[in-house]
């Protein structure tokens, strides 16, 4: 698959576990200082939105879905931001917010998933399902986000 070099400025990256717990929340935009309570609220609201959006999309899809099949969401957009989404087979959810009208980020999210596999999952000190606090992963994500920002 060809990945075009159009700039994609990631403002925030979220990783959620299947149970709704936020494993990773990283802001790249910089200026906004949020207190801990606001951050917790944002995590819950974002997961809630994504969860409800999934239910909505599965109900309104024109495609006839099989028993367990779900309708994959690529992104949604408001006037202020665009939220790209990718869910892995294990139920891990990656979401990245960018400015509106950013090009498709499915490949980029896939790359970030690979970074997760290589630098989080394969890290012997990391326990699956817990909050990710690993310098190696942070560095790689930083570098990748900078790379695709153009």
């Amino acid at each position: 698959r060809r990945f075009d070099m159009a700039p994609r400025k990631v403002d925030t990256l979220y990783i959620f576990a299947r149970d709704g717990s936020c494993l990773y929340l990283r802001k790249f935009a910089g200026e906004m200082k949020q207190d801990a309570k606001e951050v917790e609220i944002e995590k819950k609201n974002m997961f809630g939105l994504l969860f409800t959006l999934k239910t909505f999309v599965n109900s309104i899809t024109p495609r006839n879905l099989d028993e367990q099949e779900k309708e994959p969401i690529r992104y949604f957009q408001t006037a202020q931001y665009q939220l790209h989404y990718m869910e892995t087979a294990s139920g891990l959810r990656f979401a990245a917010s960018t400015p509106p009208n950013t090009r498709n980020m499915q490949v980029a999210l896939g790359r970030i998933y690979r970074l997760y596999v290589d630098y989080v999952l394969r890290n012997p000190s990391y326990r699956v399902g817990t909050v990710i606090n690993l310098a190696g992963f942070n560095q790689r994500v930083d570098a990748y986000v900078r790379e695709i920002a153009g």
């Binding site: 909505f56 957009q77 408001t78």
Partner: protein
């Protein structure tokens, strides 16, 4: 040109009032999955909630004077685009993912709504819309938009 030869790329139109209730629904594609009318009512309200949630997540200041919610959803099989008017009515269309002409069509439908629904002396605002003149006009605009859109796609 046989209307049945090319599948309709525009699937459905929903109109939701200020309170989040469905006031109009029309299915344009015979081949897309049938959604029961109860499910439509429910889904319209769910979308209304989603719209507001998406808006509050984007506004860090918490100023909810004019909510700026979901304008577009892209999935693997379909796209959804929404127009919210200044009075809080939401028009949204589901269509083929390649249908990139929906914004203009939504604006046209809004104008048809103001001409055929709001200007009807017997129509009560925010109530369900049951006007054949409105329905017919919308149908012709949707057909025209899909035909023009299909021609443009074929020329690519």
């Amino acid at each position: 040109k046989n209307p049945l030869s090319s599948p309709m790329p525009i699937y459905a139109l929903f109109i939701v009032n200020k309170a989040g209730s469905l006031i109009y629904h029309k299915n344009f594609s015979a081949k897309s999955r049938k959604i029961s009318s109860n499910e439509c009512l429910y889904m319209a309200s769910v979308f209304h909630g989603l719209y507001l949630n998406a808006s509050s997540l984007g506004q860090s200041s918490g100023d909810l004077r004019v909510p700026m919610g979901i304008e577009k959803i892209m999935t693997e099989s379909f796209r959804l685009e929404c127009l919210r008017t200044l009075t809080g009515i939401k028009f949204f269309l589901t269509a083929d993912p390649d249908a990139d002409y929906l914004k203009a069509l939504l604006n046209d439908i809004y104008i048809i709504y103001t001409d055929y629904v709001l200007k009807d002396p017997f129509y009560v605002v925010e109530m369900p819309i049951r006007l054949s003149s409105f329905e017919n006009k919308v149908m012709s605009y949707v057909l025209e938009a899909s035909e023009k859109g299909e021609m443009k796609n074929q020329n690519r």
